[in-house]
Symmetry: C2
Subunit: 208 residues, 2 copies
DNA sequence: TAGATTGTTAATCGATTAACAATC
DNA sequence: TAGATTGTTAATCGATTAACAATC
């Protein structure tokens, strides 16, 4: 079946919402309740889930533990994804140092940089290596994901190196479109800021 | 006219593409050439631009300087946006320290944190203030944008504080849906990673 | 002029939503 | 049973794309 791309991101949001409900001690919920919390339509949640199966009970709702398990499987979070960060600048180190990422199923096991002066330093338990060691490291440690936080001039080259090394997906923080044949997700701060300013301006126009 | 939301983000990407072409010394381009670089369809570029006017010459293409100016106006980048970062953790400091952001029209003039031990320290030229000073600072310095990089537990409260202080838009890095009435853009690393893992799994399924 | 490329229309494709039968 | 909520159909809405007249 064809699944809308936006539906996947929402699934990840539902997952987080359910995790939170669980923390609050709840054990069941409904599409209505989740929709209220997330500011979306209840039928969208039901529709998104329906692409993958029937997870609720009519007249009753969803069991939170059960739905969490199902989403975990759908999103591929049953095992930890071995991940590296390429580019050990401030942003790369901040990402590698972010504890929450491990809870979400991603284990950042190393950083890579062109600057030999950074090599050997540590961020949490992950050591900084020279970029030349990337391919060997990826193969030896079965790394699946590379997070790219290099300057834009180095983005394409680093992405190609990651692909060649055998990484299966790239999360790209650098402000440039990269061209590889493995899946890429872009996190583009400058683009998001500009989208925001556009909205601010439009809004002001409408107010008057 | 109704403008597709995705079109705005693409406009920001076109802007960056043109900036790069200019750096390369080019002075004119075509929708075809941009499309090739960005991996999208030429007619999509023309369509996106057409929501705002006619910026090219038939048979000739686009003047890069001219189109840059037009996009600058559309995206609201003619003046610098005074911006603060709320949450001076590793991520907040990395964002505040990122030089490229100023070139793009955003001036990060201060950071705010609940931790009084951080107060007074500097990131580039921006000082860290206590969160209690946010409202006064925003009003006094005409701050338009807040970048939220606080732990998820603090996200909603910080967003409300920013709104109350008079900020007009929020770039939210915290992994929680926030509920305010001003525009919000979400940059959600965990969600992007999960969208990536879903794609990796699907892709493997298809290969066989 | 001949070739190229825009701007725009109309068709297609994809995503969201309303509504409701099924059923707990 | 009566009330609630799911799962799904069908309608609507929104975004993308192909195609081509306009025109440089």
């Amino acid at each position: 079946m064809k699944i809308p791309k936006p539906a996947i991101k929402r699934l990840a949001v539902y997952y987080r919402c359910l995790q939170r409900m669980k923390e609050e001690g709840k054990d069941k919920t409904s599409s209505k309740e989740m929709a209220q919390r997330l500011g979306i339509k209840a039928c969208q949640i039901r529709k998104d889930l329906s692409y993958f199966g029937e997870f609720g009970k009519r007249g009753v709702g969803y069991n939170i533990d059960n739905l969490l398990e199902k989403l975990k499987a759908i999103l591929g979070l049953e095992s930890v994804w071995r991940t590296v960060v390429i580019g050990a600048g401030n942003l790369g180190k901040a990402i590698a140092g972010y504890k929450g990422i491990k809870e979400q199923g991603f284990d950042i096991i190393a950083l890579f940089d062109v600057d030999r002066r950074k090599v050997g330093k540590k961020v949490n338990n992950a050591k900084i290596h020279h970029i030349d060691e990337l391919e060997e490291f990826v193969k030896k440690n079965d790394v699946k994901i590379a997070i790219l936080s290099v300057p834009k001039e180095a983005a394409q080259q680093a992405a190609e190196a990651a692909e060649k090394a055998g990484v299966e997906g790239i999360l790209n923080f650098s402000p440039r479109v990269i061209n590889v044949s493995i899946p890429v997700e872009n996190v583009d701060i400058a683009v998001s800021l500009k989208s925001l300013t556009f909205q601010i301006i439009r809004r002001k126009g409408k107010e008057k």
